[in-house]
Symmetry: C2
Subunit: 403 residues, 2 copies
């Protein structure tokens, strides 16, 4: 007796096996260990459709031997259920960013595609000529892209870079640079987009804060989320990520994001491992009852990703702290950002080019709510002095930074 049980992503045809002899022994009371038992994870409907497909000829119907293709087929047609070995949460929608780089003078043009996290995915660049000119914005020239010799080029010789954004219909149009509101808090800057003063250079709005005292629950409190689009702040687009019922559903954030949320929720910007566990469990009760192993995943993320830095303990026997690498950009709901202040320049936190693969200084003024409670309209110079660079991602409205 043999039933197929598993199939990897790469091939549908071959199946793995699991030893069910112990289960059989218990279930049936016999000890026939010769039984070679496994089970199709394909549902019966899938099995039948697969069988019918395989028995027909090649050219007429798909083989579905490749599981990637099968699941792709599944997504396209939405009529075949291919149950995976391990069911995972659906991924948030991932976007890529197309940037048109061109230099009129040198008659060069290239289109570069980036992933959300800033990794360069492709470029058509002809190898014969290279785009090397750079834009002089009000904060200085744009940086060279991280792993590329291609730079973002000004389209007309002015100070506006030609960053083209592909909208949902696939049409390319130039990205716009907008003013930003900034609040200095928890060792960094909380930033939100202000779209209403797009065409008015002088229009710097005040951020009305009406937050209560006590624990900072800014990340899970719906009222705070609303507040960010309150007085004077026009939300550019509604928040696409809704908080699910925290009592039962899994939060739609990656482990890495959850850790980032935890770390920026404290005034000192650092936490012990145990505190991270507890913060996540308190804010997302899903993890109070979650399948065990999530703590393993937390530790895995802390260790793997360079944005999480272990700070040695205060003394022997005390627990170590985890902090965010200076300059880290944390993406928050409603297109807001938190930027960890780079207190030590680029010394400890890596080069600016590493932290901001798609960096661009904002062509805007900002109103900063400072840590001491006072409000200040800051000039570009102050922003620049703090190494306060804004990303193209933010402007495009759908950033997820690094990890």
């Amino acid at each position: 007796m043999a039933l197929d049980l598993q199939c990897s992503q790469d091939l549908y045809g071959e199946v793995g096996r699991i030893d069910l002899s112990h289960a059989i022994e218990t279930l049936l009371g016999n000890d026939d260990k010769e039984n070679d038992l496994s089970m199709h994870l394909l549902t019966s409907s899938t099995v039948s459709s697969r069988h019918s497909l395989e028995s027909s000829s090649c050219n007429e119907t798909p083989h579905l031997l490749d599981k990637t293709a099968a699941r792709q087929h599944c997504r396209r047609l939405e009529n075949i259920d291919t149950t995976p070995i391990k069911k995972q949460e659906p991924r948030r929608h991932l976007n890529s960013v197309n940037i048109l780089c061109r230099s009129k003078k040198r008659k060069l043009e290239d289109k570069v595609r980036f992933s959300e996290s800033g990794k360069k995915l492709s470029s058509n660049g002809s190898k014969s000529g290279r785009l090397t000119a750079s834009v002089a914005s009000r904060f200085g020239p744009l940086q060279t892209l991280h792993d590329s010799n291609v730079q973002i080029i000004d389209s007309d010789g002015s100070t506006n870079a030609a960053i083209m954004v592909k909208d949902s219909s696939g049409k390319l149009h130039p990205a716009e640079f907008v003013p930003v509101m900034v609040e200095e808090r928890n060792g960094g800057f909380f930033m939100s987009q202000n779209n209403s003063s797009l065409n008015n250079d002088k229009d710097v709005l005040n951020y009305q804060e009406n937050r209560g005292t006590g624990q900072d629950d800014s990340l899970t409190n719906i009222t705070w989320l609303k507040r960010m689009s309150a007085p004077g702040v026009d939300s550019v687009e509604p928040c696409q990520i809704q908080f699910p019922d925290p009592e039962c559903e899994r939060p739609p954030y990656s482990y890495s994001a959850l850790i980032q949320f935890a770390l920026i929720s404290t005034p000192i910007g650092k936490m012990t491992l145990k505190e991270i566990y507890e913060w996540i469990q308190s804010k997302f009760p899903f993890f109070k009852t979650a399948k065990l192993g999530w703590k393993n995943s937390i530790r895995h993320n802390l260790s793997l990703h360079k944005i999480f830095i272990r700070e040695p303990p205060d003394g022997p026997g005390k627990p170590a702290f985890w902090t965010l690498r200076p300059g880290t950009v944390v993406r928050l709901p409603e297109n807001r950002l938190f930027v960890m202040e780079n207190k030590h320049g680029s010394k400890n936190g890596g080069s600016a080019a590493e932290n901001f693969p798609l960096q661009h200084s904002m062509d805007a003024k900002a109103c900063i709510k400072q840590a001491d409670g006072t409000t200040q309209v800051v000039s570009e110079k102050i922003l620049q002095g703090r190494q306060f660079l804004f990303t193209a991602h933010y402007i495009l409205g759908n950033p997820v930074f690094d990890n």
Copy 2:
């Protein structure tokens, strides 16, 4: 009816569940979907010992509720079988490196521990004083360690850094710097250690090459491995990693290592994805019959690790190439290394500090077998001009670099 089936590494007590209703339906011919079926992955012996343990008091016997602890217990006592959900290959033994940093002048001392891949694991460093002096070696000052303000300090004011090595018995003793033999090939340098001339600065040995023509099978050919410890080259220690029977056993290398071996086996130092698949399958036939999904893992490694860089295709419709990031150090069997030449300086390949967290120029001359077949004894200056830095890891005899 309930049988435990899965448990994660973090907790033994709680169990996951798998829906076996379909299997039961098939097996038993009934459709009693109310059965809540799962199965202990503990063997019966484990279960019994666990039961007895749990029924006794806390202080006398271990609870074995934590699976990490249980498996550790398992390794120690070797009498409890805790079958994991997914059985993995045993890891190669991992070593850490202890480096003693001290400055006599400033009366500061610190011991820093590094993982094999160069990540700083711990230091006792008092926060009151920092070690900032650096060694002037024959190739210039030592670099600051990657994520630390601690530098390797000379112990006595001379040009030898006090790198202390912990041997198998746990005793610390100073590391020695030895001459090296170098062959320029396949876009980088193959290097082997020459221990026989340790105390003779002038003794630069020749590397007798008797390799045949044709395909470069240097990584899987045992005769080549022997050759590296042939004329004039005393092997420091026997190779601890034996090639298993390639026909059936899995090679004791990580996916990342296999890809690195593949990439440095070609004269041009780059390969397409398909060629990587084929090289690995040809050299390690295990993968001809391996469980599917290993190709997924290869792609995963290529994409994840920064040492693997995708080079855009020559033209539309052609496949892209994968190369090693310049400066990458590939660890080979028998304590040999391959260092990818850094043709473009630190521009494309990241800073030297990133590539060589524990870098140290060798206090030695080298005999280079050049790509054109000629042999040349090179001076330090040439080595330096090529940014040819040696790692403390290599000297310690057990390096695994980055990923």
